[in-house]
Symmetry: C2
Subunit: 118 residues, 2 copies
């Protein structure tokens, strides 16, 4: 599962349907513990039931996009309620993000650069 927990690579996900959580954010100034938390949250998320993968990028202009992939809505709800993640969410609202938006979406189809596997 090395690919799924390496957020700087294209995630290897199973065939749809599955779910995507699109987290878009603007950071506040300064790190204030952000980078370490972000790394811990990726590691922790990857241990949750139903986790399928994660991809993350932040532009030099400051917009961050993290897409995490999940088996179903239940696994998303469980991850949102996870205790350490709750602390990170609360600190995010208070300290790290000037703004953010979360979209929960059902992946219905997909394709890549290479020939389709199926």
């Amino acid at each position: 599962m090395a690919d799924s927990t390496e957020p700087n690579r294209i995630a290897k996900t199973p065939l749809p349907p599955y779910y995507a959580v699109i987290f878009t954010s603007s950071r506040t100034e300064g790190d204030r513990g952000y980078a370490g938390m972000a790394e811990r949250m990726v590691r922790l998320a990857s241990q949750q039931p139903g986790f399928l993968g994660v991809e993350t990028a932040r532009s030099t202009e400051g917009l961050g996009i993290t897409v995490s992939y999940w088996r179903n809505e239940e696994s998303i709800a469980a991850w949102k309620a996870q205790v350490d993640h709750q602390v990170a969410q609360e600190t995010g609202r208070r300290l790290w993000y000037s703004d953010y938006h979360v979209r929960v979406a059902r992946v219905e189809r997909e394709y890549g650069k290479g020939p389709a596997i199926l």
Copy 2:
């Protein structure tokens, strides 16, 4: 519609349901016309029927994530078939991207940092 065509900001989208096209990519070396094309494609996409917004970021490690939002599957299909976009897709496969993955997903719910509007 300044927010919707400004890909370095959180997109202002309507209430779900609507669709997200999650485009994840790894770039090849060198620009080779990429930056200009990317800017033109955002401008062109924003003029298509059903376009709702776009967000983009590329990490220093090279992973790019662009999420475009659309009213429905029909508007996504029309944009995929648009002539100038077809040329960009072909050049992308040949020249700009060492790898990419496209996921089409139906946004079912969302929330932001602030209190919910509804």
